[in-house]
Each structure stands twice: as structure tokens, then as C-alpha cells.
Amino acid sequence: MPKIIVEIMPKQDLLDPQGKAVANALSRSGNKNISNVRIGKRIELHFDTEVTDADLENAKALAASFLSNDVIEDVVNVFIEA
């Protein structure tokens, strides 16, 4: 089933509490070389038919408008996965 993947991350300058908590836990369990963790979102858009360029363009528009909020997040990638 063809998919379009949208990857979203919290903005660099905002605190990512999830990432910070995971980083602390990793540090406690001995992973001293991992200096930071940030957690974002991967959203899969599934299609029953072949994905067209128009679908990809539409997905990019949705990623920028509805799937993310540009005040707090960045869309880092939108791509087709076979």
C-alpha cells in the first residue's frame, strides 16, 4: 500500500519535555554519550491507489497547514514510501 510520510519536529528553540525525560532516563541507564533526545511525529497517509505528484503536493500543503503548527513545530520531511 503506497504511503506518504510526514515527519514533524518541535521547533529547535522550544523545550521538548518528552525528549528531556527520555534523555535523563538514558543517561541514568549508562548511555553517557547520548547528549540530547528530541521526539517528533511521523504521520502516515495511506492510499489505495498509486500516489501522484498532486497527492504529494496536497500532502505537503496539509503538513504545513493542519498536520503541524508553524508557531511550535517544523515539518522536516514529506515523502512517498512504496
Binding site: L14, P17, F66, L67, N69, V71, I72
Partner: protein
């Protein structure tokens, strides 16, 4: 005067908002998120809660609801709209107000009686307050930290669009202590604290006079009724 209150899946404070409208002298009209018919109401309240379980982002899915989209249309024509807490998040996600709301600075859900300063008493929902009046209403949120770009903050200050600021303590790390703001026209107001929980003696915040006697929230709803009568 009919004031609509939209209920989304996950809304909590719709009944309290309806009650507040009734106590102020208006007629509350329950509205359903999936229905684009706003039943010819004179104003709309987007109440607090956790619409759609805060999925995707707080308020993001509710912003797409048929009822909200109709609110966006009518707000441009001057319909008074009040977004409380999750309703504020919906207004921001629907781009009726600028900026965003993120998790509280110290990561905790906060519930307290919060002192605010009225910075702008020219909006549809604050015209019965005095400028710089200090009021106390309950605050209860997990994601109430207001953020916006430097340019947006500058614009909000220059246009006097910050309506409420947190006093004594900034509970959630909001930029410039912003608790609530309005749109250019002054008909749309969004704020994190809950005026609908401070409308009846015996059930509001404590005051110097007596326990639970605070009713500062009632003025929000009386203000909009006054604005509608004068319109």
C-alpha cells in the same frame, strides 16, 4: 439574546458556560461541533475541556469542525466569540488569534485561583471592567504557555490586543505574562483562565470579603450582552 456554546467530543465546561450565560441574563443555546448551523445566535462561546482528546495538537481538530468553520466566517463579520482554555487553543488553531499554546513551563497541570489585570476593556467581552482592574478567576490547564514570534508580540502590544495579563505569578511561562488576547476588531477574545467558574456566590474563588464569593467571571457574559444591546 442568544449565546451559543459549542460542544466538541471531549468538551468539559459547556454546561458551566451555559449556566454562566443564564446567570448573566442571556439565553444559552447548545451547539454541536458537527453541525454548521449556529442557530442564529448573537455570540458564541468555545468552552474548555479536551476536544478530541487533544489529539494532534490541543484544539487542532476542533478548529476543523463544521461549527468552528462557521464561527470563523461569522467572526469576520463581527460575531462576538469567547474561547476559554481549550476554546482559546481552538481559536489559535483556527487562526482567529495569532501565536500558539504549549505545555506549561514546569510541565505540571495547574489549578488555582488566578489574579489577572484587565489591560483592555474595549472588547465585546470586557466592556464592563475598568482599565487595569484586578480580577480573580480559576485557572486550570496543562498547555497554557502562550508563545508567539517577536514581531507578533510587538504587534499585539502596539495594537493593545493583550486583554489580560497574569498578576503576582506567571503560572505557565506565557510570554509577556499574556493570559488572554483579542483580534483586531475586538470581537474575538481567547483566554486560558475560566470566567464561567466564577459567576455565582458560594462557588467562585475566595475574596477578602468571604470564602468562594468571587464572581468576577460574570462580567464577561454581562459585557457581551451589553455589547449586543448597544450594537
Amino acid at each position: 439574546m442568544k449565546i451559543g456554546v459549542i460542544t466538541y467530543p471531549g468538551t468539559l465546561d459547556d454546561r458551566d458556560a451555559q449556566r454562566a450565560i443564564r446567570l448573566a441574563g442571556g439565553t444559552p443555546v447548545p451547539l454541536w461541533h458537527a453541525d454548521s448551523d449556529l442557530k442564529k445566535v448573537d455570540a458564541v462561546v468555545l468552552p474548555g475541556g479536551f476536544s478530541y482528546g487533544d489529539y494532534l495538537r490541543c484544539g487542532a481538530i476542533a478548529a476543523q469542525a463544521p461549527a468552528t468553520q462557521e464561527v470563523v466566517k461569522l467572526a469576520a463579520q463581527g460575531l462576538p466569540v469567547l474561547g476559554i482554555c481549550n476554546g482559546f487553543q481552538v481559536l489559535v488553531e483556527a487562526h482567529l488569534l495569532p501565536g500558539g499554546l504549549i505545555r506549561n513551563e514546569k510541565q505540571h497541570f495547574i489549578c488555582r485561583d488566578q489574579k489577572l489585570r484587565v489591560e483592555n476593556n474595549q472588547t465585546a467581552w470586557t466592556n464592563l471592567f475598568d482599565k487595569d482592574q484586578e480580577i480573580t478567576i480559576p485557572l486550570k490547564n496543562g498547555e497554557g504557555g502562550y508563545i508567539a514570534s517577536k514581531e507578533t508580540l510587538k504587534m499585539l502590544e502596539a495594537e493593545n490586543r493583550v486583554v489580560f495579563r497574569y498578576l503576582d505569578l506567571n503560572p505557565n511561562g506565557s510570554m509577556s505574562d499574556i493570559a488572554g488576547l483579542t483580534n483586531e476588531r475586538g470581537n474575538v477574545l481567547g483566554l486560558m483562565p475560566h470566567p464561567e467558574h466564577a459567576v455565582e456566590p458560594g462557588f467562585g474563588p475566595d475574596t477578602d470579603i468571604a470564602m468562594r464569593s468571587g464572581t468576577d467571571g460574570l462580567k464577561f457574559f454581562e459585557s457581551v450582552l451589553k455589547a449586543l444591546v448597544n450594537a
